[in-house]
Amino acid sequence: MIDKRVASLTEALEGIGDGATVMIGGFGAVGQPDALVDALAEIGPRDLTIIANNAGWSAETGISHLMARGLVRKMICSFPKGSEVFKSLYTAGKIELEIVPQGTLAERIRCGGAGIPAFFTATGYQTKLSESKETREFDGRHYVMERSLTADVALVEAWKADRWGNLIYRGSSRNFNPIMSMAAQLTIAQASEIVDGDGLEPNAVVTPGIFVNRVVQVESRVDDLLRAQKAS
């Protein structure tokens, strides 16, 4: 029987070693797999490369929490502003940064999951972010060649899941989660609810279970996180 449910966060995160590349879903707090990320910080693998849109906002939770513990070697993201932890590490030269335009970041991840090693986009042409990159003209317009991104692990948050690993999302919490699920060797989802029986409705599934390896049920803390974010 296919059963991707695991009983604990520790079990869910088993096998993430030093030097791993980890994609983390979410746009700010919404859709961020906070419980998984905080549990990963406890486990403490070192020299991580993190791929995410943001760099977190509080040393107490999420990506900034990983950084505060000294576990992150490199950040690949579009918008690290808002993280004091990242800022101090970065200005001290203690963390690497690769800034990627948000849409290029999304497409590099999607292509990573879709078996496409490289693609062309007009985004970033003649900017500092494409300085070292190959450019090319198609039909009179200029484009930058971008390479896809894959990861050892993706940590994602879903609203509901089933034992086959199918996922659905709430509100604007899809963001990077469906594409990161596709792009990692090991995709681990935290979900507010895991439905029993015949699983989610086939037409409603957003992330098919083929992309998901483990599912763990945890109450979403997005209410708390947004409050904390607001206060910070």
């Binding site: 579009s78 849409g103 999304a106 509100g171 594409i179 947004l226």
Partner: protein
């Protein structure tokens, strides 16, 4: 081209409203974080302008009341929003397919500098920020059908932001179609700045004096 600070022209509400009046009904529109977000306040619901948020929303409605907040539904500025009838939700790759694929009728962004060629600089400073961050600005500037910039006409110390050539690092070359400032509305075409309208009580000479490139009447 002087160092005089501008206290003339529209206030920020007036600027947002001026731009809002030029948006066509039923357009799909992405509003950047900051002042551009204010534009939505001046577009009535009946006009059915469809607001896009790059984190996966089409059909955003106004800010919810304190008791109506859905924490899972935020805009690109990570602030709570609502959904209007006809809304849809999707993931980031689909959201930027809309942007990059030319499906968004208009994006409104802020700007540090805009050149007469339509080059846009709005993401980082010449020295490089202490912490650079780009977000979706580069995708929006090259992808949307129209890119309109909503910004103050000059810097705080009176330097013009409409210039011949950008000194700030570019967000995108030849991307801007229009610029809305407190002093007027300017269209960029054929490599030059053309005056669409000047704010009430202002003449071309006054505005030209605060502009770093030639204004064509």
């Amino acid at each position: 081209m002087t160092g005089t600070p501008t206290s003339i022209g529209l206030d920020t509400a007036g600027m947002a409203k001026r731009l809002a009046d030029d948006i066509h009904d039923a357009w799909y529109v992405n509003l950047g974080v900051g002042l551009p977000t204010e534009v939505a306040n001046y577009v009535t619901e009946e006009r059915e302008v469809v607001f896009h948020s790059e984190n996966g929303i089409l059909g955003m409605g106004p800010t919810p009341g304190d008791n109506e907040i859905d924490p899972w539904l935020v805009n690109a500025g990570k602030k709570p929003v609502t959904l209007r009838p006809g809304a849809s939700l999707f993931h980031h790759a689909d959201s930027f397919a809309m942007i990059r694929g030319g499906h968004i009728d208009l994006c409104v962004l802020g700007g540090y500098e805009v050149s007469q060629a339509g080059d846009l600089a709005n993401w980082t400073t010449p020295s490089g920020d202490l912490m650079p961050a780009v977000g979706g600005a580069m995708d929006l500037a090259v992808g949307a059908k129209r890119t309109w910039i909503l910004m103050r006409h000059t810097t705080k110390d009176g330097q013009p932001k409409l210039v011949e050539t950008c000194t700030y690092p570019l967000t995108a070359p030849a991307a801007v179609d229009r610029v809305y400032t407190e002093l007027g509305v300017f269209e960029i075409r054929d490599g030059g700045l053309h005056v669409v309208s000047l704010s009430e009580g202002l003449d071309l000479e006054t505005v030209q004096a605060r502009t770093g490139a030639t204004l064509h009447a």
